[in-house]
């Protein structure tokens, strides 16, 4: 699902605009699979699949493949509709630069939720 992130985010001008002050690299762990997402002024400049050794990133979001699978459904089941719903129940973990996250919370949530659009359109990665 994350492989399509560039298309999904960059194709949505309001989302890119909300992230205009964000230039960074974040790490998303889907089970043991590591993804490095490069963001430049709100645009997704690249998504690389690891493993990487000691690659620096500003934020890490981690959950099992099963949990992400529920999170990316168009209508997720209760407890999986929001990243903080998942952290509260111990299904996900967020770490790193919380100031960056909270300053741009809507943007980062929209980036993480973007793959839901694929499921809504019936397109699966």
């Amino acid at each position: 699902m994350l492989e399509k992130l560039s298309e999904l985010v960059n194709g949505s001008p309001p989302v890119v605009s909300r992230g205009r002050l964000v230039t960074t690299e974040i790490q998303v762990m889907v089970g043991r699979d590591e993804y490095c997402i490069k963001i430049e002024e709100g645009r997704i400049a690249g998504v690389e699949k690891g493993p990487f050794l000691m690659r620096p990133c500003s934020l890490t979001v981690r959950a099992s493949a099963e949990a992400w699978g529920k999170f990316w459904q168009p209508y997720p089941p209760p407890g999986y509709q929001d990243i903080f719903a998942m952290t509260k129940r111990g299904e996900a973990e967020v770490s790193g630069d919380f100031r960056l996250l909270m300053q741009n919370l809507r943007y980062f949530k929209e980036v993480l939720e973007a793959p839901r659009k694929l499921a809504k359109e019936g397109r699966h990665a």
């Binding site: 209760p78 509709q81 929001d82 903080f84 719903a85 509260k88 300053q103 809507r106």
Partner: protein, 284 residues
């Protein structure tokens, strides 16, 4: 002809703990007073759909007021050097002051989120003055899930972060228009107000030791919680309901933490039977 809604808004002068306030409220309908309490960091607009529902307003006089510091209820004189902090005592005193100043007889009090918490205290301490209480997304306690310090600091936009934190606490099925209207309330609250409300919610209102003393024969208690609420979870409400003998708990499908505003049509299915039951009890 102007397309006017039946809602009328007015200002009421009250004094709470010796401090004068000018409180804004909206009302519609006639019959049993139904006082509606908004969630933390928002205002009474959350109840506009109840206020315009003829099924409700034909037997209820629905009133929704903005707590001081919220919506159109200004903060008190001298606010500029104060840190706003809601406590159980201040919240209780404000609601009771509103009800008494309006000369409401045995009002039913319904509150959402922190309003769903305070109604438990009202039932315990002021049960004889009330017709019933309805807690929406209410419980005697719940586990926190973020640090409230992020809600009020110069390097994070308060309105944006308050809305973004709440954005996922609604059901994915709720209509976009209603979800975003709900979040607009959060985007508009004054600096530090959501954080100050959460002082009550997080720090000053652990009611786990006292809810079992609520006497539902004096003041009936109804608790309704949405299945998508991860802040006050269905488990939190069910646990609370078990401790209050005679209370009635409903878990609402396809709703989250803001049932009255995130999906008014879905919420209606659950709240109408409760209001009918309360009205029936009053008639008998």
């Amino acid at each position: 002809m102007p397309e006017l809604e039946p809602i009328v808004g007015r200002y009421l002068r009250i004094s709470v703990q010796g401090i004068p306030y000018r409180v804004y409220f909206e009302e519609a309908g006639s019959g049993i007073p139904l006082v509606c309490l908004h969630t933390a960091g928002s205002d009474g607009r959350q109840y506009r759909h109840l206020l315009t529902d003829p099924e409700i307003t034909r037997s209820y006089r629905v009133l929704a007021f903005d707590l001081p510091w919220h919506g159109k209820s200004n903060p008190p004189a001298g606010f500029q050097d104060q840190e706003y902090r809601l406590t159980t005592q201040l919240y209780t005193d404000t609601i009771i002051a509103f009800c008494r100043a309006m000369e409401l007889t045995k009002p039913v009090v319904m509150g959402g989120s922190m309003g769903g918490r305070i109604v438990l205290e009202l039932a315990l301490r002021h049960g004889d003055e009330l017709g019933a209480v309805i807690g929406l997304e209410g419980a005697d306690y719940q586990q926190p899930w973020y640090d409230t310090a992020w809600l009020h600091r110069p390097d994070v936009h308060g309105g944006e972060v308050c809305a973004a934190l709440n954005s996922g606490n609604m059901a994915p099925h709720s209509p976009d228009e209603s979800r975003w209207e709900t979040l607009w309330g959060y985007m508009q609250s004054g600096p530090g107000i959501f954080k100050g409300d959460l002082y009550f919610y997080r720090v000053d209102s652990d009611f786990r030791d006292r809810v079992a003393r609520i006497d539902t024969s004096r003041c009936p208690v109804y608790l309704l919680t949405g299945e998508y609420d991860f802040s006050c979870t269905p488990e939190d409400t069910l646990r609370t309901g078990k401790k209050i003998a005679g209370s009635k708990v409903t878990i609402m499908e396809r709703l989250g933490h803001f049932p009255m505003s995130e999906n008014p049509a879905q919420f209606r299915k659950y709240i109408l039977p409760v209001l009918d039951e309360i009205a029936g009890r009053k008639r008998n």
